[in-house]
């Protein structure tokens, strides 16, 4: 790989890292796994950088790798994850820590109760603001499938006891 491409990749990684880790957190509910997932995807992007760059949308490439790597991880583990309390150092404002901690735990508990595909649709569609077509391309499925997954996910979230009114401040 030539040095310009490597410098370009480094710049890309610095710029995208925070958002990719947040995407990873949305997909996994675990800060450590989130960083590992982001790094895995970026390492694969680096290994294929000339082709990724030529394709013109490295963000889409990395997102696709992250989502698929996470689904593969789940297939291998076949263990239901439980959301644990998050480390306090990830909380940005000590004043709001209690409220945000509760809010985050509740939402992440509800999210991680969803099947992997539905969780990915929720994060990509409602946090990353991707269109249904973009989500479909990322997940390698049809737009119709994205719509039905989103609909089922929203239905489950509406009924989630973790998000019940009384549990939130």
């Amino acid at each position: 790989m030539d040095s310009r491409a490597e410098a370009e990749f480094t710049e890309f990684m610095h710029a995208r890292w925070p958002r990719l880790v947040r995407l990873g957190y949305g997909l996994t509910g675990d800060p450590g796994l989130a960083e590992d997932l982001a790094q895995t995807a970026l390492a694969r992007a680096f290994a294929s950088w000339p082709r990724v760059r030529r394709a013109g949308d490295p963000d889409a490439y990395v997102r696709r790798i992250m989502v698929n790597a996470n689904i593969s991880r789940f297939r291998k583990r076949r263990v239901r994850e439980q959301v644990m309390d998050l480390p306090l150092e990830t909380l940005p404002h000590p004043v709001d820590a209690t409220r945000q901690h509760d809010d985050r735990s509740a939402l992440m508990a509800a999210l991680t109760s969803l099947p992997q595909g539905q969780r990915a649709v929720v994060v990509l569609r409602y946090w990353m603001d991707m269109t249904e077509a973009e989500v479909a391309a990322t997940l390698g499925c049809s737009v119709g499938n994205v719509k039905s997954q989103a609909s089922r996910a929203l239905a489950k979230l509406r009924l989630s006891s973790d998000l019940a009114e009384g549990k939130l401040p």
């Binding site: 790989m1 030539d2 040095s3 490597e6 410098a7 480094t10 990684m13 610095h14 890292w17 925070p18 880790v21 947040r22 995407l23 949305g26 989130a34 960083e35 982001a38 790094q39 895995t40 970026l42 390492a43 694969r44 680096f46 290994a47 294929s48 950088w49 000339p50 082709r51 990724v52 030529r54 394709a55 013109g56 490439y61 696709r64 698929n68 593969s72 297939r75 291998k76 990830t90 909380l91 940005p92 945000q100 809010d103 985050r104 939402l107 992440m108 929720v122 994060v123 409602y126 946090w127 603001d129 390698g140 929203l154 979230l157 509406r158 009924l159 998000l163 019940a164 009114e165 939130l168």
Partner: protein, 364 residues
Amino acid sequence: MTIDDERELRRRLDSVLEAITPSPAPVAATLRRGGTIRTWRRVGVAVGLAAAVGIALAAPGLVHQIVGRAPITQHEHKWVVTVYPPGPHHPTGEVAWGTINGKRWQITVSSAGQCVQGRFNGQDGDLDCGGPITASQDRSVPVIFTGTSDSRVTFQAGVVQPDVARIVVSLAGGRKLTLQPYPLYGQRWVAFAVPAGLPILNGTAYSTKSELAHSVPYGDDFVTWLRPGEHGRAPATYVIGSGVVDGVSWSAVLHVGPWGYCLDTPGSTYCLGAQSSLDNTYRAGGLIAGGSLLVNGEATASVAYVVGTLTDGRTVRATVVGVGGPRFWAWVVPSGQRLRRVVFYTASGRQVAVQSGAKYNLGI
């Protein structure tokens, strides 16, 4: 029920995910991981660089020697490997399947033809995605394989030229895999999987009437396809550079052979096809323990040495090594330093080409 509509969900996701404060981006570790992921996409032609200026301070020159033929890995196990085209009820995107000692493997490609994924014994291999996988624009190259490997299996897939009727891959132990192109998404695909560690000896592409080309891979990598009757270069190994930096030894070793030119450096391998036109070039070759960066490249016929200027004003210098036509060089950029520029000189000290290193930043 607290999520009444999509807007509420967006607000909550924002509030939760934007509050995450990631650790600093682990750029050096990611580059190391990326460098060790095996891929088989050939660049083919090195990137050309531009013209003149600069004066060098000396650093240790790099000496080369022919140290022998490229090593050949011995296979210890008895492997039974098969490959078949997709059957009538095959999974979406499958382009080939088969078995390795009775355990099933399959290779699928995504509908856009951008991702290849292998699966062995019920477990997915790494997903290999990027730009569209297509046949080479050079019609004399029958196929460009792309793929991945892990500790168990090497998966390779590619799109063949219209005149390719089959590709035969010969493995150590006398086994031959006949790859029949399979039409999918408007292209004709071939794919195969072999156990990691089982040497691939060669590949031959045939039309319906005759041999089109043959290739001796470097490891698993079909870098160069030769015309029928062509033998390519005899295998030889050259040390392009070696030394010790911050107490850590390093080397850049070039394996020349019918596959072309493959430079092994710490953490990475870079290959050029035998027909590649070489210019004055530099690239990152991998990170050495301690954070130093190995930089290497090619040079044109008149270049005798290459000098890099670092951000602290020091320079590094490498003697260019001729390997019977092409010329290669390598040096090390110490940890914490960046390249300001790279200058290519003739033996008499005339500058032939200069490349800015201003943007060169590994984030380490």
